[in-house]
């Protein structure tokens, strides 16, 4: 079968110099450059130097990217910010041209790069449905036929004749997604639409996307939401700095993405001038969070064990150290705290020099963002060094084995404890265990 999308050696060059200064090209510059061009050419002839103007710098947003998508496949494009995902989508939609390479598309293409593109604030909801529909490529008849469905999905029937400028941002987004969701292309390109809206609406959008993906349409889905990518897509492409770093099953690609991120972006170094408290006899130098594989991470699967490794520089011997590792939610709530002396253990003698400490925290954190705080104290309670928010990390909703993923839109609390559930009803007894005991198995 012929592929729906065939990307052949696509590259895209941007000149960042021009972008960074944010200065529009002015006519004066162009005229000056044109006037000076012959002079420069002559200078080059004699000088031999052909360096371009120093203010501009070439940046390859994409370099030699190739992949294919078969009809009916749902493919997730993942990668860090700046990896070239959006540029790729812009090229696939025809908004911008590749600098080199080519793309073959088979079938009607619809794109959803931003929710509510082309909404006009002065027009009413009803008028905007028609306008937005036309912009996305629907015909008037098509929109008319789907009008009621769109209104119902967006839940805005009471405000149909109100100008969109008076809509709440939530209504705005709902209406935008509703129109786009009723688009009927053979190839659908979606960028990060689920990053907006409240949890309930995100769920609704995901549901709709899931529904669409089962109708045999080809979908290319760009997102940072790994849970959404994992649940929607069958295959994935990992982009890294404009190259295809990995292509394959979605599980494989997501795993690679989560591991790859750590190596480059997360140093976990604690600078000297970080806000610290303490006598200063010792200083924390770096911290990292590792999974079972031993690689540094900032995103953990739900249910994954926390292993914190930190390096502490000790300037003078400390005979009575109590080391402390704690995890806080980003609002500052202390969630768990472990001290080296917990359970009546003796204080640790620390020798001058660098000490590397590894702590395994057997705790099942609920999906949200956390950070790690480090401290070291004397026996008498005096603090030697204390640094808060040394490293931020996220516990994702998705578990290593996706059957154990977190199912709800929002977590209540921070920890889920191992628990045993017993139901005592007349005539039968039901028992089961939950929490780590179960998720780890």
């Amino acid at each position: 079968m012929a592929s729906a999308i065939r990307v052949e050696h696509i590259s895209k060059l941007y000149r960042i110099g021009a972008l960074q200064t944010q200065e529009y090209q002015t006519l004066r510059d162009t005229l000056a450059r044109t006037a000076l061009a012959p002079v420069r050419r002559i200078a080059q002839l004699f000088g031999g130097s052909t360096s371009a103007s120093p203010s501009t710098e070439d940046h390859w947003a994409l370099e030699d990217v190739s992949f294919e998508v078969q009809p009916g496949e749902v493919v997730g494009i993942v990668g860090r910010n700046g990896a070239g995902k959006s540029t790729l989508l812009k090229i696939l939609t025809g908004i911008t041209e590749p600098t080199s390479g080519r793309v073959h598309l088979r079938g009607r293409v619809g794109s959803l790069l931003e929710v509510g593109t082309g909404f006009h604030p002065e027009l009413t909801g009803r008028e905007n449905i028609f306008l937005n529909g036309a912009i996305l490529g629907m015909t008037r008849d098509e929109i008319r036929r789907k009008f009621d469905e769109i209104v119902a999905f967006a839940e805005i029937d009471r405000f149909l004749d109100t100008p969109v400028k008076r809509y709440s941002s939530g209504m705005h987004i709902r209406l935008g997604f509703a129109v786009a969701a009723h688009l009927n292309p053979e190839i659908l390109l979606v960028d990060e639409v689920l990053a907006v809206g409240d949890a309930a609406f995100q769920k609704k959008c995901l549901g709709k996307m899931d529904e669409v993906s089962h109708t045999g349409r080809t979908i290319l889905f760009v997102s940072h939401n790994m849970a959404a990518v994992k649940s929607l897509c069958t295959r994935g492409v990992l982009l890294d700095a404009g190259h295809v770093a990995c292509e394959g099953s979605i599980d494989e690609v997501v795993d690679k993405y989560l591991l790859a991120g750590s190596d480059m972006s997360v140093t976990g170094c604690i600078p000297d001038d970080a806000p610290r408290v303490g006598t200063g006899t010792a200083r924390f130098r770096s911290v990292k969070l590792t999974g079972d594989a031993g690689k540094a991470l900032t995103e953990l699967y739900f249910g994954q064990r926390l292993r914190v490794t930190f390096v502490c520089e000790i300037f003078n011997d400390i005979p009575d150290a109590h080391l402390e590792v704690s995890v806080s939610a980003l609002d500052g709530t202390h969630v768990v705290c472990s001290m080296s002396s917990d359970g009546g253990q003796a204080p640790l003698p620390l020798k001058a020099g660098l000490e590397t400490v590894t702590v395994d925290l057997d705790v099942e954190l609920l999906p949200r963002q956390y950070s790690i705080d480090l401290a070291v104290h004397h026996e008498d309670g005096r603090t030697i060094d204390l640094v808060q928010r040394t490293l931020d990390f996220t516990v994702m909703k998705v578990a290593q084995n996706s059957a154990n993923s977190f199912r709800w839109t929002r977590a209540r609390g921070y920890i889920t404890p191992p628990a045993e559930w017993h139901l005592h009803q007349s005539g039968r007894r039901l028992s089961h265990q939950t929490g780590q005991l179960c998720a780890r198995s």
Binding site: Y14, Q25, L27, G94, T96, P98, L105, R106, R108, F130
Partner: protein, 275 residues
């Protein structure tokens, strides 16, 4: 409406033909953009579309008061207000079309960077919206003719031809300026000024021919708009068309149309990156 069959995307530098086929495929979008511009223009105004008539009336009054003495020929058969109206209407259309078309692409940044469609649709939609105002204003012209009991002559059949030429000129100049404005924001400031000069350089709007033009200024008549407006008036009010200026204006309008659209097509591939 989106694209059927196989589509190939790759770098396509250089000159391209206007792509009427593509535009035709997206005609509904053209319709909706026009409709949006019209709807939005008179939202939250008390008088609404009446502005399409009030604006030319105000200009005609001003011209009659200030220029009436100087520019009008007391022996002319046509009363000066009617004379001026015949010039003001096509001018108002032209000036409005050029200025809104030139701002249209940067005004629709959100669309340009997020959706693919033939970019020419944007300035064309802006111009089409002005065309609607022009149609309303033409009714005003008819009413004024009734008021002065001036009967239209058979030459009125030429009006559609002149309108096509005028439209071509507006599209040519509008798209050229729209494309230039995307890359060089300088043009935002140039346009208002340019239109002002252009108006005075179009004596057909306000100067009754019999008054005569200083021969040193005759070269001004190279301006294609002058011939179009002159002939528009002749066609409406009756009189033999000035075929030589008509031919010259039509040819230069067609040329500007082609140059404007082709330049636009040449640079449109960079719009999403530069805008």
């Amino acid at each position: 409406m989106a694209l059927q069959g196989i589509r190939i995307l790759e770098a396509r530098p250089g000159w391209h033909f206007i792509g009427f086929k593509d535009i035709w495929r997206y005609r509904e979008l053209l319709y909706f953009l026009t409709w949006r511009d019209i709807k939005v223009r008179y939202k939250q105004t008390v008088l609404g579309a009446a502005w399409a008539i009030l604006q030319p009336i105000a200009t005609v009054l001003a011209f009659s008061l200030f220029f009436g003495r100087v520019a009008a020929n007391p022996h002319a058969a046509v009363p000066y207000p009617l004379f001026v109206l015949c010039g003001i209407l096509p001018w108002t259309f032209f000036a409005g079309a050029v200025s809104s078309a030139s701002q249209s692409v940067i005004g629709n940044q959100g669309l340009v960077t997020k959706i693919y469609f033939p970019r020419l649709i944007i300035p064309m939609g802006a111009i089409a919206a002005c065309l609607v105002d022009f149609a309303i204003a033409l009714a005003l012209l008819l009413a004024t003719m009734v008021y002065y009991s001036v009967a239209p002559a058979a030459t009125i059949l030429f009006v559609p031809v002149l309108l096509v030429a005028l439209l071509a000129l507006a599209i040519g100049v509008g798209t050229l300026l729209a494309a230039l404005t995307v890359e060089y924001r300088d043009f935002r400031y140039v346009i208002a000024f340019m239109l002002q000069i252009w108006m005075f350089a179009t004596p057909a709007i306000y100067l009754q021919a019999e008054v005569g033009l200083d021969p040193r200024w005759r070269t001004i008549l190279v301006n294609p708009l002058n011939g179009l407006i002159e002939n528009f008036r002749l066609a409406v009010l009756g009189g033999s068309l000035d075929t030589s200026t008509l031919a010259a204006s039509s040819i230069s309008s067609a040329l500007l149309f082609v140059v404007g659209c082709l330049y636009f097509r040449r640079v449109e591939r960079k719009f999403a990156d530069v805008i």
